[in-house]
Symmetry: C2
Subunit: 501 residues, 2 copies
């Protein structure tokens, strides 16, 4: 057995994650009460709440301007319980109803306490966004879309109307897009920059944080940052809040922790989503959980007509109701169909998707298409004949697609659009991170609190834990909500190292 | 938003994982060159190799005697490349052939270097077991079983004969059970205890290790242990090897890291499998990877005749070839069928399984069974008629079950045995742990080596990473092999803190 023959360790990311000892710091460049690392929606919310609570607050942002993954997103926020917009557009919602859906949508491994707090405080959270100047139009966008392309607000953004969720609680739309045509993530961040500046938060852009500073008692007391090219130590007398985003841009971490996500060609995130905060947290004993999970999506609607198609695996079997939220469908393709699936459409429902798809086959009969796709004899034919038979009555006894999307497919030619991970544009981001209390306090594997350290947003394991149940707006919603919690908790803490417990 | 309303942190495991500073140690109870924590097959192998390399070695075992999960297991070891037993029983194998299968069986996220070393050194590893007195009979057990109930040795213990693996490399049996009727795990450990004792290894039972000791340079230099009820500090001048097992007995960790495994009713492991080593490793900056993965199994064969049945989901669709290794089938039930599946048998193949199953339905026709199981109309009927049609020719075009298991099911009554996670005995153990080099050196998230710290066995992410591809014998095989590597590396290192690189 030749250990000498072992090749060198494969290259891994270069950033250190081990903390620096406070005793070794000769000079502090500056001192704040609260330091927030990373200016996406979580960091902005944390800083605003900390400043409103009276804390002298610094945000360190790696890029030339705040934004992060939030600024690249559509900007949907998941609110409910009877918001102004819901009421104005005639939708009746309640905290209980919202809670019932979010308990499902956050996934079976979510933190029930985070789910409860998020729902119970949703109206307050809507008001928070209003208070920083984010505007919402009192309008509803009725199409099934990824996000409203107009400046309309309310939209069904998840699985509310979809079986089995629709049987668990009355379906209500809760995706709220700020009043902005197209995507609105950047607009949210701009309002946060204005608000934080007004509150006296110091925003230091082009500042990279690689290292936490820890005192002998184990408390996090500051950060080492490369500010405009120079390494400096900055003290945080009350706490450091990590809002650095997820790790989808860190190929090594994705491969190690979330191999399914590594199969997706298109990482959804900003350059900063390289896991730096998660790694700093682990380096001081923090537990990273849910690290294999993420949201994967292959967009096949709009057009809405495509939802009337059949998604089949390589055996020609259906395995997911096609009207699910796109990420739920994509999760099913990965987990249930080993990443290989086709959307079968007939000529009357064929339409252009937002993303181009390879056409795996186009034939005048299902028999011929089955053959062209190299499927076992009689399988796709059975799937179709059985589907069409019940579709005459608007029924889908196999998978319970909503009847508005159920109609017989009878109009040749029949085409198979390739939804496979290897053949189409799958986008992905991570949903694992540091284990935190709802206050943002970072926990060790043993559930002890690491003094002085907080995390929110994708650097933490937040509100939602799986693309299988997800709704658009839950990331920005959850990240901002628990960012606020972290900002408040950090600002309200005494500086003698005692926790709030 | 009321942070005050947040309830206390839910209770988590009480063991600390943070290291103690070496400077705070007033008195060392004893000093060794290598300390091995936990005496399962990984720990035994590590200690034997360390001692053979001349290192003064201590094993600290929590229980009253070595054994761990190994002693509870069947004792199969995965060897190949042309072992004495393979040759004597007429099977031709080669390193290349073994490598080809193990590359698949270790799972797509395995470490290619570990896979390569394991296969290239398999004959040496067989000799190692012979050298410690473990005997293997030159015999082959031809039935498809979980393990040979006799003292026979060689058995197909994985997916070698199963589609698609059978198309990738010529099928050869590689499960080797030591010459012992029934299970043989305890016998392996007894031989290790004898060998280690002969080599002068000090074996300290009833010794619990909760804390690593780290010097100011970050090197692990010993452990704090509760030895026979008293806390003592023990120095390790060359290294500490964590071979403490997985974490299936730690409900909190399972819930956090591996929610699918939490759905399995029967944890496979010893009391020591509570993740203590993984937690100590994380506490000094080690990366824990693959933490959501494990092996889950619902045993439905023997009898071999059951493999001729059809496993269907709640829609009445087949989704996995029924002749796969049991854990691969169970993984498919969890991932593809949401944990709900039935094994449909007719009267001619019905037989008693090793574990009792609930019978979800028993009817004289498939139509009636479909109805009794509340499946969509026509689905199970199609599955059966299509299967039977091709089975007349011994073919299974849908999922490629091997023709020796394919025959039409025509002899009523038809019964549905419930294989669902909630309704049957699913057993599970974990396959995630500390990220290590093949030498056992523990790595940080950034891929740096933590000086003086090694891990092997289930405390590390080892040879196999997923029950979906697994073969019996890979855990004991991989744990012992990489235990040996860790023992040798630790013993051969200089004490000045330099690595082998």
């Amino acid at each position: 057995m030749p250990p000498d023959a072992i090749r060198a360790t494969s290259p891994r990311p270069p950033l250190p994650s081990e903390p620096r000892n406070a005793a070794s710091i000769e000079q502090w460049w500056d001192e704040f009460e609260v330091i927030v690392v990373g200016f996406g929606v979580a960091g902005g919310a944390a800083a605003i709440e900390a400043a409103r609570a009276g804390a002298r607050t610094l945000i360190l942002e790696r890029a030339t301007r705040g934004g992060g993954a939030t600024a690249l997103s559509e900007g949907l926020i998941y609110f409910g319980g009877g918001t102004r917009v819901q009421k104005a557009t005639g939708f009746e919602d309640s905290t209980e109803n919202m809670l019932s859906h979010v308990q499902a949508a956050a996934g079976p491994t979510s933190d029930p306490e985070k789910v409860r707090l998020y729902c119970e405080n949703s109206l307050d959270h809507f008001d928070f966004f209003c208070s920083i100047g984010v505007k919402f139009k009192d309008s509803y966008f009725a199409e099934k879309v990824i996000f409203p392309p107009t400046d309309d607000c309310l939209v069904f953004s998840g699985n509310e109307e979809v079986y089995p969720f629709s049987e668990q609680s009355p379906p209500v739309p809760r995706g709220h897009k700020p009043m902005k045509e197209g995507t609105a993530g950047g607009y949210i961040i701009e309002q946060m920059i204005l608000t934080a500046t007004d509150l006296g938060v110091k925003i230091q852009n082009e500042s990279r944080v690689e290292t936490l500073i820890r005192d002998d008692a184990g408390r996090i007391v500051g950060v080492l940052a490369i500010v405009l090219g120079k390494e400096v130590a900055i003290k945080a007398s009350r706490g450091v809040i990590l809002t650095t985003g997820g790790f989808i841009m860190n190929k090594q971490m994705v491969r190690h922790y979330a191999p399914d996500l590594a199969k997706c060609k298109f990482p959804l995130g900003s350059d900063g989503c390289d896991g730096s905060g998660i790694r700093m947290g682990i380096g001081v004993g923090g537990a990273a959980i849910n690290m294999h999970e993420g949201l994967m999506t292959a967009v096949y609607y709009p057009p809405t007509s495509h939802i009337k198609g059949l998604i089949v695996n390589r055996q020609g079997q259906r395995f997911i109701n096609e009207d699910c939220y796109h990420a739920r469908v994509t999760d099913a393709i990965m987990q249930k169909a080993d990443g290989v699936a086709f959307l079968i459409v007939d000529d009357s429902i064929y339409g252009k998707t937002m993303l181009p798809f390879e056409i795996a086959g186009i034939e005048d009969t299902i028999e011929a298409l089955e053959k062209a796709l190299d499927m076992p004899e009689g399988q796709l034919v059975h799937t179709f004949s059985s589907y069409n038979r019940f579709a005459e009555r608007g029924e889908d006894p196999l998978l319970h697609k909503a009847s508005k999307y159920v109609e017989p497919l009878l109009n040749p030619p029949y085409a198979a659009l390739d939804l496979s991970a290897a053949k189409s544009v799958w986008a992905a981001f991570t949903l694992g991170g540091l284990d935190t209390r709802p206050t943002g306090e970072v926990l060790t594997v043993d559930g002890r609190i690491i003094e002085g350290l907080y995390a929110a947003g994708r650097a933490s394991a937040g509100l939602t834990r799986s693309g299988r149940y997800y709704a658009s707006g839950m990331s920005i919603g959850g990240s901002s909500f628990f960012g606020r919690m972290a900002g408040r908790t950090a600002a309200g803490r005494s500086t003698n190292g005692l926790t709030n417990d």
